[in-house]
């Protein structure tokens, strides 16, 4: 069939489909409810057929390019992913995320060791050789920390700021750190190792120093509740980063490209979960941890409950359901 006749025969179909596609792009909701939407898949596939014919018969660019562009648009619409749904997100947080954490437990254990072992070593070092604290912190920093955790303060853990102000600050700062920890893991894991070990050293040395000078009680009263979410989230983000970096080094029985795509996919999900955990941690830190007037039993009791909750959620969450839903 000559090109001119082919265009004369089908050109109006192409125009109709193209104008309908333009309508969908302008106002998707209303157009998708119109009766023409029902015939769209069939129309689109007929158009694909026409494109294949046009290419096989060597029709000119004007025709093939025109069909190609309608096909590109149609493909975008037909294979459009469903909009993210709240229910699926909730399902992911309750069940999918803990399952993923358990599946990647080796990296999580490694990340936890990288955080807690330096913390423990520094805690012991500072406890038995108090001057070691000065190796970790400058003297202005130490003075700052001592002011933050002074038992005489009405608010603990900060010098100034309202609850809401600190909430925003914690979100920006902590989630930013978690995301960077994950991403910098791509550099063969170095970024993640650095962030984890550094936080461990600071945490351990600070705890030891404040214990030494008798400010231990306000410090632990402040951190113990939100640490459940915060430290665990940092460990998970670090583990995701380690997975990314170690997959780059040793992709296993897979080509490096697909292995990295898989590591990225898993890492992003872990980072999203860590993000949710850090939002929870920021809430607790800003509105609960900082209140100095709560009695000890309430502080430590609530912290215990939170640690049990986090542990139970990560160890048992989604265990009852069948996998792969």
């Amino acid at each position: 069939m000559k090109q001119e006749r082919f265009v004369a025969l089908h050109g109006s179909d192409w125009d109709t489909l193209e104008s309908w596609l333009r309508q969908v792009e302008a106002r998707p909701q209303r157009t998708m409810r119109s009766p023409e939407a029902v015939s769209f898949p069939a129309d689109y596939r007929r158009l694909c057929h026409h494109l294949a014919l046009a290419r096989a018969r060597g029709y000119s660019r004007e025709v093939t390019e025109r069909l190609q562009r309608i096909v590109d648009r149609g493909h975008r619409l037909l294979y459009r992913p469903p909009a993210p749904r709240w229910r699926r997100m909730a399902n992911f947080l309750i069940a999918g995320f803990p399952r993923l954490v358990r599946k990647e437990w080796r990296y999580m254990a490694l990340a936890a060791a990288l955080l807690y072992v330096p913390a423990l070593i520094c805690l012991l070092l500072v406890t038995f050789r108090p001057e070691f604290a000065h190796n970790v912190f400058g003297s202005t920093q130490l003075a700052e920390f001592e002011r933050m955790y002074d038992p005489a303060n009405r608010h603990i853990g900060r010098n100034s700021g309202t609850d809401l102000g600190m909430f925003g600050y914690y979100i920006m700062n902590n989630v930013g750190i978690a995301f960077r920890t994950f991403a910098s893991g791509l550099v063969v894991g170095i970024g993640a190792v650095y962030v984890l070990a550094m936080n461990g050293v600071i945490f351990g040395a600070l705890a030891g120093h404040l214990d030494n000078i008798g400010y231990g009680a306000p410090f632990w009263r402040f951190v113990v509740a939100h640490a459940s979410f915060e430290l665990t989230a940092i460990v998970i983000a670090g583990g995701a980063g380690l997975r990314l970096g170690l997959t780059l080094l040793a992709p296993g029985r897979q080509r490096r490209g697909p292995a990295m795509v898989e590591a990225g996919w898993i890492g992003a999900q872990l980072a999203l979960g860590a993000f949710a955990m850090l939002v929870a941690a920021a809430f607790i830190e800003a509105f609960w941890s900082s209140v100095a007037s709560f009695p000890d039993w309430l502080k430590y009791g609530s912290a215990m409950a939170l640690w049990v909750l986090v542990g139970w959620w990560l160890l048992r969450g989604g265990a009852g359901e069948s996998r792969g839903t």
Binding site: M1, K2, Q3, E4, Y44, R45, C48, H49, A52, R55, G58, Y59, S60, R61, E62, E65, R66, Q68, R69, V71, D72, R73, H75, R76, Y79, R80, P81, A83, P84, S160, G161, T162, L164, G165, F167, G168, Y169, I171, M172, N173, V175, G176, F179, R180, F182, A183, S184, L186, V187, L244, G257, M260, V261, A263, G264, W265, A268, Q269, A271, L272
Partner: protein
């Protein structure tokens, strides 16, 4: 192929043609996005400054949203385009040419940290230069790519002249070349038309304007205009 078009076969058995976008248009899109983010930040911070410490907290949330959330939300809910990409007619697509989903978008936007590394997108620039589809590292790992949106047509028509059959049978490729020449004719200068047509003087048997007219007449015949 030497050009930057990536072909992807669809379930219908035809190929999508994705035009990879290079570093320059993407940098321009990023600059526009940056300006928009900075403008939003200032617009929000001025009234918030009056609220004191609590306002600063909301300001920090705005900074967080502008840094980490803006790109993901734009890409997932607005067809793979941030405002800057929309201005430059760019679009982020998934590995199969379909619109991007949440997890790949999160991957490519978190790994932006690495692409930005030595100062101003050093790693990203090298990656876009090395990769055949001009992807930065984040795109490689997310399995996504940034493409040019080409939705407008040239709309060139072969000028209608009395049809004339070519003196001998032509292969389909040769036919396509002649029709394409005739389609592009109106865009070319007369000198260039003559220059190209002269290459085919063994076929047309003529040179100069007469050769051009003859080729257009062949094209009319090949298109089926009797």
């Amino acid at each position: 192929m030497l050009d930057t078009i990536r072909q992807i076969e669809t379930p219908e058995g035809v190929f999508l043609r994705l035009h990879a976008a290079g570093a320059l248009p993407r940098a321009q899109a990023w600059l526009i996005d940056f300006a928009i983010r900075a403008a939003v930040f200032w617009a929000v911070m001025i009234p918030l400054a009056l609220l004191g410490e609590g306002g600063m907290g909301i300001g920090a949330l705005v900074v967080f949203a502008m840094t980490w959330v803006y790109s993901v939300v734009c890409e997932v809910w607005f067809g793979g385009q941030t405002l800057g990409k929309r201005a430059l007619s760019l679009r982020v697509v998934g590995a199969d040419g379909a619109p991007i989903t949440l997890v790949p978008s999160v991957v490519r936007n978190l790994l932006r940290v690495v692409d930005m590394l030595p100062g101003v997108y050093g790693v990203g620039l090298i990656s876009t230069l090395v990769d055949p589809h001009a992807r930065r590292l984040g795109d490689v790992i997310a399995g996504t790519m940034v493409v040019h949106v080409v939705d407008t047509l040239g709309g060139n028509q072969v000028p209608t002249v009395p049809a004339e059959a070519p003196p001998r049978a032509l292969s389909s490729e040769e036919q396509a070349i002649i029709v394409e020449f005739a389609e592009r004719c109106p865009q070319l200068t007369p000198q260039r038309q003559r220059e190209l047509a002269d290459l085919l003087s063994p076929l047309t048997g003529q040179t100069g304007d007469a050769g051009v007219r003859r080729l257009v007449a062949f094209a009319n015949y090949l298109l089926g205009r009797a």
